[in-house]
């Protein structure tokens, strides 16, 4: 009869239930079979270094969390084996205080563990003095071992599921990156093939215009050709600039200064669209190691996007810089209506645009520049209201300007014009 419980617990352990349900059922079984008034499972949380009550039977435990050296769970963990007390006096003698013993007289508690891991404790409490036979102790130990396996099994399943979903996520990202790479290769080839003929077209259009004279109708058409050619050239510049890894000229730069410079270019736009600029800059310089020109391109793109979103109705552009730990953060917030949530997943993809004359390269270029400076961009979109882009860059360790080797070589070349 007493051995029945072993079989029942084995059945329970291998069943397809949630761990908590299994433990509650087991608690009930153990309490009934051996005449305990309460049965509790406190599981060990390795991360937080505490015991948490996972399941219990028989009255409510008011102590849900134990520190690692506290009370009966702490005592079991400390001696790595069975802890028992036949009375509160004995408990006190053993130097253990446990508020949750109120109303009880005796306790029998044992670890849930296997050879490598400690999972927690099983605590059995009784209002009476309880004499456990050797046989019963044996059975309880076997039951505890079975339940340890159930806990281990649950842990493995959980890990397995996590790895599985992580892997699926990585695969998705990888497939996306591969697609972008192929797209990038194609774009680079195209850009190169288009560039030279474009220069020819533009150049000869210029010559033709000279021949026709300035006030002819033909000159007007040629002006149009030139405008379109320079637009295409700009797009090609964007693509090649985005795809080709030009060497970064890293120097110590004060980000506040860089942002101020970027903002200056937009002053006419701010005025004509009625955009209020609110600056919340970190007091004092914020140095980062960066290629100043590249960084300006990155922030120009972000500011231009914000400005474009507020072109019609005006609004506020809030630019804040701050230092948080080892990161310098720059946030650019607008209230130009935000990004349609349907498109949010695509905004960093090259050639994705919602604008009539957009190239779809602004954000990808910004993202690529920020990444190459070992930074990240975060987007907080409030659809219908506005969007905040936050750029986080590592702060410079040394405040002295450091120059890359390539710069020295470049500057030592004779007669530099560019």
């Amino acid at each position: 009869m007493e051995y029945d419980i072993i079989e029942k617990v084995v059945e329970l352990a291998v069943a397809e239930h949630e761990l908590e349900g299994k433990l509650v059922k087991a608690a009930e079984l153990i309490a009934y079979s051996f005449g305990f008034d309460r049965c509790e499972f406190y599981l060990w949380d390795e991360g937080k270094q505490v015991f948490t009550l996972k399941a219990h039977f028989g009255g409510d435990s008011n102590h849900k969390i134990y520190a690692q050296d506290e009370g009966i769970p702490g005592a079991v963990k400390a001696q790595k084996g069975v802890f028992e007390a036949q009375s509160l006096d004995e408990l006190e003698e053993k130097g253990v205080t446990d508020r949750d013993m109120e109303g009880f007289r005796s306790v029998y508690a044992l670890p849930l563990h296997d050879r490598h891991n400690f999972y927690g404790i099983l605590s059995l409490k009784s209002r009476k003095r309880l004499a456990l036979s050797i046989k019963r102790r044996h059975i309880i130990r076997i039951v505890a071992l079975e339940l340890s396996w159930a806990i281990r099994y649950d842990e493995l399943i959980r890990n397995h599921q996590k790895i599985h979903s992580d892997l699926a996520e990585i695969q998705k990202k990888f497939a996306n990156a591969e697609k972008l790479l192929a797209l990038g290769d194609m774009a680079a080839t195209l850009a190169h093939e288009i560039r030279n003929p474009l220069i020819s077209i533009g150049g000869f259009a210029g010559r033709l215009k000279k021949q026709l004279g300035p006030d002819t109708k033909g000159a007007l058409y040629l002006d149009r050709i030139n405008i379109e050619v320079s637009r295409l050239q700009k797009i090609m510049d964007g693509i090649t600039g985005f795809l080709k890894d030009s060497a970064l000229e890293l120097r110590s730069n004060d980000i506040n200064e860089v942002i101020e410079e970027c903002l200056k270019i937009f002053n006419p736009d701010f005025r004509s669209y009625g955009i209020r600029v609110i600056k919340d800059f970190h007091k004092g310089p914020l140095h980062i190691m960066a290629d100043r020109e590249q960084l300006k391109i990155a922030f120009d793109n972000l500011i231009a996007n914000a400005v474009q979103s507020m072109e019609k109705n005006g609004g506020s552009l809030i630019i804040a810089t701050a230092l948080s730990g080892d990161l310098v953060t720059i946030s650019i917030a607008d209230n130009g209506g935000g990004i349609d949530p349907r498109y949010l997943g695509y905004i960093f993809n090259p050639f994705f645009t919602t604008k009539e004359h957009g190239t779809g390269l602004g954000l990808p270029i910004t993202n690529s520049i920020v990444n190459r400076h070992k930074g990240v961009i975060e987007v907080e979109n409030n659809a219908g209201v506005g969007v905040t882009f936050t750029v986080k860059l590592p702060r410079a360790e040394a405040k002295l300007p450091v120059v890359l080797l390539t710069d020295k070589i470049a500057e030592s070349g004779p007669g530099k014009f560019r």
């Binding site: 190169h192 560039r195 030279n196 003929p197 474009l198 220069i199 020819s200 077209i201 533009g202 150049g203 000869f204 259009a205 210029g206 010559r207 030139n226 050619v229 320079s230 050239q233 090609m236 090649t240 600039g241 080709k244 890894d245 030009s246 060497a247 390539t406 070589i409 470049a410 030592s412 070349g413 004779p414 007669g415 530099k416 014009f417 560019r418």
Partner: protein, 120 residues
């Protein structure tokens, strides 16, 4: 005496454009469609300045630049390319100037004037 410029580019349209534009400025222009051809021209003709495309099939501009500077140390070479990133290439800093290709040749012409003017 008119200064003579050798234009090296594999694009026929660009060669023609450079030729016409530079001749308008009063320079004589010789053309070469490849790196190999440019070296032959340099052996036989007297040239005052080389305008050199970097990306060409066969011998590329960087290689031509190396050979030119080995043989004719004082012959000025302007590198012309579509990409600004060559600026940091180890092979290119021996050139006298670096110009990014554009349909607007104003900058290129100014650069040529500066270099030819300096030589006199």
């Amino acid at each position: 005496m008119k200064k003579r410029i050798l234009v090296v580019d594999d694009e026929e349209g660009l060669r023609l454009l450079y030729k016409e534009e530079l001749e308008d400025e009063g320079w004589e222009v010789e053309l070469a469609a490849s790196g190999e051809e440019s070296l032959e021209k340099l052996e036989s003709d007297s040239i005052d300045l080389v305008l050199l495309d970097i990306k060409m099939p066969g011998m590329d501009g960087v290689e031509v630049l190396r050979r030119v500077k080995e043989r004719w140390k004082d012959l000025p070479v302007i590198l012309c390319t579509a990409y600004p990133h060559y600026k940091h290439d180890f092979g290119t800093w021996a050139s006298d100037a670096y110009v990014i290709k554009s349909s607007d040749l104003t900058e290129l012409k100014q650069t040529i004037r500066d270099i030819l003017g300096k030589k006199e």
